[in-house]
Structures are given as structure tokens and as C-alpha cells.
Amino acid sequence: MSRPFRIFWWLVFLVGAIYFFLPLIGTLAFSLKDKPITAGYTDLLKNKEFLSTFGYSFGVGLATIVISTALIVPTAFWVRLRLPRARPLVEFITLLPFMVPPVVLVFGLISTYSRPPLSLTGSDQGSTVLLVMAYVVLSLPYMYRAADTGLGAIDVRALTEAAQSLGAGWPTILLRVILPNVRVAVLSGAFLTLAIVIGEFTIAIFLARPAFAPFLGLLGDQDPYEQAAGALISFGMTWIAMIIISLLGRGSQTRISVGGAR
């Protein structure tokens, strides 16, 4: 690479770096403008609503991961073992959530589940169930690809036959043979799901759920410094989730993610 070219590439990199770091620095600086300097953070940590909404979103995220794993891992396993011809269909369905933006998905869900006999939106519990189900839908593309990649790295057929010849039934095979072997791959999908759920706004607000992102959006009316601290903590959560993923998936390709909490 000749010298003027290399200077050009450095310039491209620097422009990108400045663009990406300025908003982070701006948020950090703003969060520290309160008096005393860390008040934004201490106030936030003392804010009951922060704790309750963050806890709520975290719990919803965990429920999403459990249900999504229970749904996707057996499905991906079964497709690899017995139904390779169903793969295009399953892959297509798991990619559909990209095609239905969150605001459209929640529109469809509310129209379907707001009337008897399936009046889920009528109660808090029902709405939370619907929220978790919507997030499981959002997680399908990541979870399926994560599980499928994990299954591709092991000999599913040999493991299953070995377990069967030792007398294992399907639940044992799935829980004690397959799941431990795809744990790392599934965990990377799970952390991505958690990061997306904690930041998700659109579905949560239309289902009127006490989630973290709607709380953060309105916090500025009370205390903008607290809000800046909250935004930074939210970024921090995403960082942590993604760092764990890259540590888990060292050597494997970075997965593409679209359709999260835009």
C-alpha cells in the first residue's frame, strides 16, 4: 500500500473513531455535570423506579432466554437429525421477525390478543406473557442460528445413537447430551437476546409494561443527569453482553444482528 493511500485509510478510520466516540464522551461528561460529580449515578441507584424497571426487564430477558432455548434447541436438533428437508422452512420462519418491525409485531399481537377468548392484554400478567412471547419472536433469528451453528460443530447423529443405545430417552438426550454440547453457542445467542430485551422500547411501551427503556426515556423530565447515567449504564450492559459473546465465540464468525431495539 503506497503512502498517500495509507494516509487516506488512516483518515477514514479517524473520522469513524471520532464519530463513534464523541456521543459516548458527551454522555459521560453530561452524567458527571451534577453536583456532587457522581450524584447522577448515586441518585439513579437510589431511584426505586430504576431498580424495579431494570429488575423487570432483566427478569423478562431471562424468561425470554429460557423459553427461546427450550423452543429452539430441540427444533434445531430435530431438523438436523430427522428433518433436513424442513431446514429451509424453519430457517425462513426464523428470519421472518426481521421482516416484521417491532411496532408492526406489537400491533398484530394486540389486535389478536386483546379480545375474548384470548384477552391477554386485559391483565398485567397477561401483558407480561405477551411481552415475553414477543421477545421470544425477536430472539428467533439469533437463537436459531446460534443453536444451529453449535449443532453443526458436533456429531448429532452419533451422540444421539450412543445415548439411545445406553437407554436414554428424548428428554435425557436433549438435556444431558445435546444441550451441554451446544451450551457455548446458545449462551452467545442468549446474551445478545438479553442485551436486546433490556434496551427494547417499542413493544414494552405499547403493552404498557414497566420496563427499563420507557423509564429511561421519561427520566429526563425529572433529572437529566440521572438519565445520562442511565443511558451510559445501558451502553455498558450491551458492552458486557457483547464482550462475553466474543469471549465465548472466539474463533467463530461475528454474528450479524438486526431488528433489535432500534
Binding site: M1, F8, W9, W10, V12, F13, G16, F20, L22, P23, G26, T27, F30, L71, T75, W78, V79, R82, L83, I93, L96, V100, P101, P102, V103, V104, L105, V106, G108, I110, S111, M133, V136, V137, L140, E161, Q164, L192, G199, F201, T202, F206, A213, L216, G220, A228, A231, L232, F235, M242, I243, S246, T254, I256, S257, V258, G259, G260, A261, R262
Partner: protein, 301 residues
């Protein structure tokens, strides 16, 4: 596949009366997955589509789509498409340059992995916190705005406004650029050194190599990625909601208005708007899938 050595298939064969039930039996394993996606993805989507062709009494009608002739709907689709196009093409071009810079531009190796890791993170920075970060930085009292004012430059007097179309585009770049880097990096990685050497041995200049070898190979990947980016911006709602409070007329915000407003009384028009969005997303993503398949031809060898 050998079916004979398989205990499950053997059992299935015993139970099966005919060849057909033997073939259908494995599909039972997909029932939970199909039932879930039907209940929470397919039925709600179909309900929107069917509902968009029904009036309040449930009779067939096309009247809901008459809204597509109204100024506010046309304007919303125009604005959404414009913002998605501008950010997709802009991030497509700059993201490609950035990816090329760190992969083949002769920058130190650690920068490459740092940029790729950061892209994985930043493509997930979106929604409320992202809008807030820009407000704190280049909003009316943001860090950068104040700093620039100190230097005698007031961006808001110079025509910039974060809470406008340009501002929203600036914010969208934050999740568009990293996505571009992530999807285009494998294609740039796949450009083989031998191709450049072969072109040089045949007397091609650097420009000729790019114009006649590299760009034709990369073009399907680049165009496909731009379509993916278009869909990525088109479906975004939270960022714009937080940033402009609904001042900008986007389709996602309009659908949201219908949803919180008259969903139970006159839902048909909202359904029609949502179906229009699904159609545009489907076109963008189908384009991405087709171009991606074309692009992969070069990577198999």
C-alpha cells in the same frame, strides 16, 4: 442416510401403516416450534393483512388503503424511505471504506479486530440510549454544541438541528455503519490476493483492477448490504420517538399513533399502514438475500 441402523426409525416403521405416515411422523417434532411461531408471529401478521381488507363490520373493502392517497401517509412513507435510503447509501459507502481501511488498508492489525468487535457492540446501541447520547452531545445544550459555541460556531444557527431529518440521519448512522462493517467484512476478506497479482501481471493499473475486477466482484455484496441497511432503518421506531417526540412524520411513528389511538374502533387503516411496511421490508430483505447468494459464488472456490 441409513435408515436401517436407526432405532427410532425402526420403531417408527413398525408403527407406521404406510409409507406416507412414516414420512410425516418426524414432522411431529416441529409442532411446538410451528405452533409457537403461528400463534405469536404468523397469525398476528395474517390478522393485520386480512384486517386491512375489512371494514368495521368485517366486510371486504379496499377503503382502508385509500389512506395511501392522503397527504400525511404519503409524506410519512416518503420521509421514512428518504431517511432509510440516505443512511443506507451513506453508511454503505463509508462503512465499506472503513471496513476496507482496517482490513486491507495497511493499518495495524489490532485496529482491525478492535473495529470489528466495536461494530458488534455498536450495531446494538440503538433506541432510547442512543437518542439520548446524541442529545447530550449535539443537542441544544450538548457537550459538542457548547464547545463549538465557545469557538464562535453555533451549529444551530448554521442550519443544523438534531431534532430534524438531518439530525435523525446523523443518529441512524450510529447503528447503520457498524452493521455495514459487519456484513461487508467477509466479502472484503474474500478478495483474493492472487486476483490482484494476476491483474498486475497482466498489466492492469490499480484503477483498472478496481474497476474491472474488485468492484464487479464486490458489487452484489455492497448492494445487498445496502438493502439490508435500508430495512434496518425503515423499521426503526424508538430512536426517532425519543429524539423528535413524533415531530418527524415517519411510518413507524404513524403506525404507533394508530395503535395507541383508534386500534379498537377503526383499526383497518392502521392495519393497511402496517401491511405497507411489511411489503417494503419484504422487498428490501428479499433483495438482500438474492444479492447475498450471488455474492457467495466467489467465496466458495
Amino acid at each position: 442416510m441409513s435408515h436401517t441402523a436407526d432405532p427410532l426409525d425402526a420403531r417408527a416403521a413398525q408403527r407406521a401403516q404406510s409409507g406416507r405416515s412414516r414420512r410425516l411422523l418426524p414432522w411431529l417434532g416441529l409442532v411446538p416450534f410451528l405452533a409457537f411461531t403461528a400463534a405469536f408471529l404468523l397469525v398476528p401478521s395474517v390478522k393485520l393483512i386480512v384486517g386491512s381488507f375489512q371494514d368495521a363490520a368485517g366486510h371486504f373493502t379496499l377503503a382502508n388503503y385509500s389512506d395511501f392517497g392522503s397527504k400525511i401517509v404519503i409524506n410519512a412513507y416518503q420521509t421514512s424511505i428518504e431517511i432509510s435510503l440516505v443512511t443506507a447509501i451513506g453508511a454503505g459507502v463509508f462503512g465499506f471504506l472503513l471496513a476496507y481501511a482496517v482490513i486491507s488498508g495497511g493499518l495495524p492489525k489490532p485496529i482491525r479486530s478492535a473495529v470489528l468487535t466495536f461494530s458488534g457492540v455498536a450495531s446494538n446501541f440503538a433506541g432510547i440510549p442512543l437518542a439520548l447520547a446524541f442529545i447530550f452531545t449535539i443537542g441544544r445544550v450538548g457537550l459538542l454544541t457548547v464547545a463549538l459555541k465557545g469557538l464562535g460556531i453555533d451549529p444551530y444557527k448554521a442550519g443544523f438541528n438534531l431534532y430534524s431529518k438531518i439530525g435523525l440521519e446523523l443518529v441512524y448512522f450510529y447503528f447503520q455503519l457498524p452493521l455495514m462493517i459487519l456484513v461487508i467484512a467477509p466479502a472484503i476478506d474474500g478478495l483474493k490476493r492472487e486476483w490482484r497479482e494476476a491483474a498486475e501481471n497482466l498489466g492492469a493499473s490499480s484503477i483498472e483492477f478496481w474497476r474491472r475486477v474488485a468492484l464487479p466482484i464486490l458489487m452484489p455484496s455492497i448492494l445487498g448490504s445496502v438493502m439490508l441497511l435500508f430495512g434496518n432503518a425503515f423499521g426503526a421506531q424508538a430512536t426517532a420517538y425519543q429524539l423528535t417526540g413524533g415531530l418527524i412524520n415517519l411510518v413507524t411513528l404513524l403506525v404507533g399513533d394508530k395503535l395507541s389511538g383508534d386500534v379498537l374502533h377503526e383499526p383497518g387503516k392502521g392495519f393497511a399502514l402496517a401491511v405497507g411496511m411489511i411489503a417494503i421490508m419484504a422487498i428490501a430483505l428479499a433483495g438482500y438475500a438474492i444479492l447475498q447468494r450471488r455474492a457467495e459464488r466467489w467465496r466458495r472456490a
